[in-house]
Symmetry: C2
Subunit: 342 residues, 2 copies
Amino acid sequence: MVTLKDIAAKVGVSISVVSRVLRNNMGQTRVRPEVAEAIRRAAKEMGYVPNPSAVALVRRQHNTLGLFFHRIGVPGSGIQENTLDGICAAARERHQRLLVVFFSTTEEFRQEWDAVRHGYVDGVLFVGRPHQDLLPDVVALRKTGRAVVTLYHEPLAPDIPNVGIDQQMVGYLATRHLLDLGCHRVVFLSTQKDASSSDFLRRRKEGWLRAMAEAYGGAPPSDLLEIPCGLDYASGARAIGRLMEGNVWFDGVVAASDAQASAVLNEVERRGRRVPEEVRIIGVDDSPICQMTHVPLSSISQQYFERAQRAVALLCDAIHGQEVHSEVFPPVLRPRTSTLGT
Amino acid sequence: MVTLKDIAAKVGVSISVVSRVLRNNMGQTRVRPEVAEAIRRAAKEMGYVPNPSAVALVRRQHNTLGLFFHRIGVPGSGIQENTLDGICAAARERHQRLLVVFFSTTEEFRQEWDAVRHGYVDGVLFVGRPHQDLLPDVVALRKTGRAVVTLYHEPLAPDIPNVGIDQQMVGYLATRHLLDLGCHRVVFLSTQKDASSSDFLRRRKEGWLRAMAEAYGGAPPSDLLEIPCGLDYASGARAIGRLMEGNVWFDGVVAASDAQASAVLNEVERRGRRVPEEVRIIGVDDSPICQMTHVPLSSISQQYFERAQRAVALLCDAIHGQEVHSEVFPPVLRPRTSTLGT
DNA sequence: CTGAAAGCGCTTACAG
DNA sequence: CTGAAAGCGCTTACAG
């Protein structure tokens, strides 16, 4: 590998000048332009790439980002893939290496935590499900001088920068889409009271209520249908099955995930009602499943790829001492046959 | 961050001893046991973690693995997630940082190639679809002293270590499973002649033929049904649709992916035949989709998580100068309702 | 305008 | 049995 010394020898100057020219870091002194030019040319010709370890050592940085990834999304949702794709692309662009930890439970988190807490990373990105019980750890981490950014639905705390998504708008967009297509009674698949994930669903519900209120001239109707339900396929199937057994009439369903939506689709049709002619269905995540169900599913994208890229950008800015603030992305409607028809 | 100097000061020895004790690297000399003990205790108490940049600088290593990931699997297959999960876990365990590049086309590969070729990585793991046209680049990379391992179905070249999967066994296991359950005419969804992915499907086909031959007393029957078909949902639906329109009778289908299998399921039932009573269906990948279809799909796991972990282990061994060889994992059958019934 | 020198934190022959 | 010293490749005050 070619070093500063090699370039210095070739051009006939000291390595100090070479370093300053290539790093564009010349204090208040100027270097003769022809020398600078010669250095830059030589560096390019010789294929010089700075040794990141040497740079890291002297700069007391590590060009490494920690990534704490709480597995999210029902399996198959594609959220994990999209998020990682965005993170890796943005990190590569900024010459940042990655130290990735996947975890699913607080215990797993604790097990791996030391590796990052004592590890040589300049900043940490937390992805997935927000845990209030991890807040002290995150705060402690910041005290050690590391930058922290989260990629959660909502900020963990007001002063921890987050790249979020407007969950109220998720609920609103989905419901509004169904109402615009002529639906009257739109079921909202909500969550069990005790679920840790209930926060974002609470906000989505607000969006559903707002859209329903708009459609009903100001106040939501009194016969609103909110059905508590887990995010997975089986829960969705059970919930909608019970509803239909009770002979409750509805003509639209806002599911909380695409897995749920596919369950609703299968269950509704199995019980003899047609999608989307009699019941329109929309999910959330815009996942690959949407194109594999026998009626393609409409969905709402939570923009994980884009948000992941942005989160890495913010993290790098924070590492370089800039002040960064939380951002909120708008969700995007992806209509397909399960609402539009063919 | 605590350094060797801090520990040396506390214990009252030179940093050389501390380094040798902690690294377990003492040449032919011995250190007094009580001193060694004191050093280890101090290191632990003070929470010492070696600065990887300093170590990297002097060792001329970088504790960084390059990861060239050709996106594989139909979206939703979960292959990408499982693979990354395995890689990240194994890399963390070995204190290796990651430099991850996702790509989908040879052009994208070329764009990112320099970053790794000139980059400071000790080894590179290639994942996904093997490209014969990348072979010269891989060989050149090895010449620069980097270790190389691939996570492909089959080795790119005989001397490049690969963690593969027995594709013949994939076809055999699937077919044999259907035959054992009483199927007589098992359709094999194959691929277009020109597809770049055709290699592994050719091997799977051998497994299908072998199983059929076994069932038919030594030689496969003459009315074998091999249907060319893309790996995605739409292709699967079209292929099986055409077959059924031609009134061709069959009672088993070995699909090439779970997406395809779900398409077959929907199409077969839409045309009035029951799964698994009249037609048994099995896919490949054991993806999350399998549990979201209205009849849960049987499938064959290609062991991506386990193989990914193993590939990282081999890569690290190779980096440390050990000779490593290709391995082949056996696929695993995951039977569900689409073949077994309820 | 340019260079010599110190130092980042570690490893490892080489002396004692 | 243990330490002083050189050196990995770079950056950055500090001299000239």
